[in-house]
């Protein structure tokens, strides 16, 4: 076994320091060491997006990031999306629009949506579908997800213009 290392990064604004093996993925460390189990594991090869987190401003699949690579990084996970006890627009839109069924893909999709709206505050349906293509959902047929994303974008736009 190779030596464990100390890795330091921030998650949702909190600085954390963990001891991990190089072979541990960021996903594994978030879930097993930090008990941030909102980030889900669906495939472990980057094809489902359930483990999406935002790393230094970019969405990444945390199953394909080694925890040691996160040294110094700023991470945002699903647990950091709501503002205290208030849901953000995307979360609220998902609930109002019934955009989830089983809910296992939901954290990844919400995090990915946060990244999308950061980059493109007013996405077309095609923009949404392309940006979320790396997040598989097997329950909803995506219809209500796409609508919820657009509803959230609109709500945020209105809020920003007020």
């Amino acid at each position: 076994m190779s030596a464990k290392r100390v890795v330091t990064f921030t998650v949702n604004g909190d600085q954390v320091e963990i001891l991990c093996e190089p072979r541990q993925s960021l996903l594994e460390v978030l879930r097993d060491d930090l008990d941030l189990t909102g980030t889900k594991e669906g495939c472990s090869n980057g094809n489902c997006g359930a483990c999406t987190v935002i790393m230094d401003g970019r969405p990444v699949v945390s199953c394909l990031v080694l925890a040691v690579e996160a040294e110094g990084a700023e991470l945002r996970t699903i647990e950091g999306v709501a503002c205290g006890s208030t849901l953000d627009e995307v979360q609220a839109a998902f609930l109002e629009g019934a955009a989830l069924q089983c809910g296992i893909c939901t954290p990844g999709i919400i995090v990915q949506t946060e990244a999308l709206l950061e980059e493109n505050p007013n996405p077309t349906e095609d923009d949404v579908r392309f940006y979320l293509a790396g997040n598989l959902c097997r329950c909803t047929g995506y219809d209500k997800i796409v609508r919820a994303v657009q509803a959230a974008a609109e709500k945020r736009q209105v809020a920003a213009s007020n």
Binding site: S2, R5, R23, N47, V65, Q112
Partner: protein, 298 residues
């Protein structure tokens, strides 16, 4: 996953030294989107990973008189977000836009795509079409090799133990040139190319005749191919169905694909011809300074 050590050198020299020291049992780690998956499934089991993605030389993305320099670890999103790439090296932007999903594009690099040496790599045909040259650093100095000569088999390439791909350099774009990449996939996204075609064309001032063309093909042989004869067949020819058809036929000629879960041999050969024509047509439109009507993934 197999246990391994992790090193993050701060200079290329240090990286090369580490690579050489482990004599073949070390792998450079850039975005990791292929490497980590392959290690997890046990296809690769290096003893050491050398994280090269923070090395300055591997993060270059700039244009000068020599052309465009793309550091081997520059992630896709930076490439397609780059003004020069988007206006002049569009095939490369096209490729980077469809490698994996958005999350993968946050990490994956064209250097990694090339070093992974998959026959279906989406950026390699574009790099071939754009005349990319690999800049390799090694214990005994630096060397250069054309992208089309880099891969030697599925998962295999010319890198010797201790060598590191530093950047891919692309020559400056001539006037009246345009390029494009597209692939056939059964879905519209998140898929591996069944056939991928990258092409770059240069037209004369009238926009009606080819000056030159380069075509790269993916997923139709053990390595991505440079369809040299297909490209050469267009030089000096008028832009018309006949010349495109001839180029497509020449491309089909060199295709030697396999049948697998992604498509049959016959299908791939057929699609090679179809895509070569479509990609050339799009490159021509761009060479004329117009926008192509292109739905990513379709």
């Amino acid at each position: 996953m197999h246990a391994f050590d992790y090193q993050s050198p701060s200079t290329v020299a240090e990286a090369i030294e580490l690579m050489a020291k482990h004599n073949g049992s070390a792998r450079p780690l850039a975005g990791g989107t292929d490497l980590i998956d392959q290690m997890r499934v046990g296809r690769l089991a290096p003893d050491v990973l050398i994280d090269v993605k923070k090395l300055d030389e591997l993060n270059v993305l700039s244009a000068d008189a020599a052309g465009l320099h793309v550091g081997a670890a520059v992630p896709c999103y930076r490439i397609y977000g780059d003004e020069t790439v988007n206006s002049q090296y569009t095939a490369l932007a096209d490729s980077c836009h469809i490698i994996g999903g958005i999350q993968i594009q946050s990490r994956a690099s064209i250097g990694g795509n090339l070093c992974n040496s998959g026959p279906a790599a989406d950026s390699t045909p574009s790099m071939i079409a754009l005349g990319g040259v690999c800049v390799i650093a090694g214990p005994s100095g630096s060397r250069e090799i054309a992208v089309e000569s880099f891969c030697t088999g599925p998962g295999k390439n010319v890198l010797e133990p201790g060598e590191l791909l530093v950047e891919v350099r692309f020559p400056a774009r001539p006037a009246n040139s345009g390029s494009h990449y597209r692939r056939m996939i059964p879905r519209n996204e998140m898929d591996i190319a069944v056939v991928g075609v990258g092409a770059s064309v240069t037209l004369d001032d009238s926009g009606q005749n080819f000056v030159s063309a380069r075509i790269g093909l993916g997923a139709i042989a053990a390595t991505p191919l440079f369809a040299e004869a297909a490209g050469e067949s267009l030089a000096g020819q008028p832009v018309n169905d006949e010349s495109l058809e001839k180029a497509a036929a020449a491309a089909r000629e060199i295709a030697s694909p396999i049948t697998d879960m992604r498509g049959t041999r016959e299908y791939r050969i057929h699609v090679t011809g179809v895509l070569v024509k479509r990609v050339l047509q799009a490159a021509i439109v761009r060479a004329r300074g117009e926008q192509i009507d292109y739905c990513r993934g379709h």
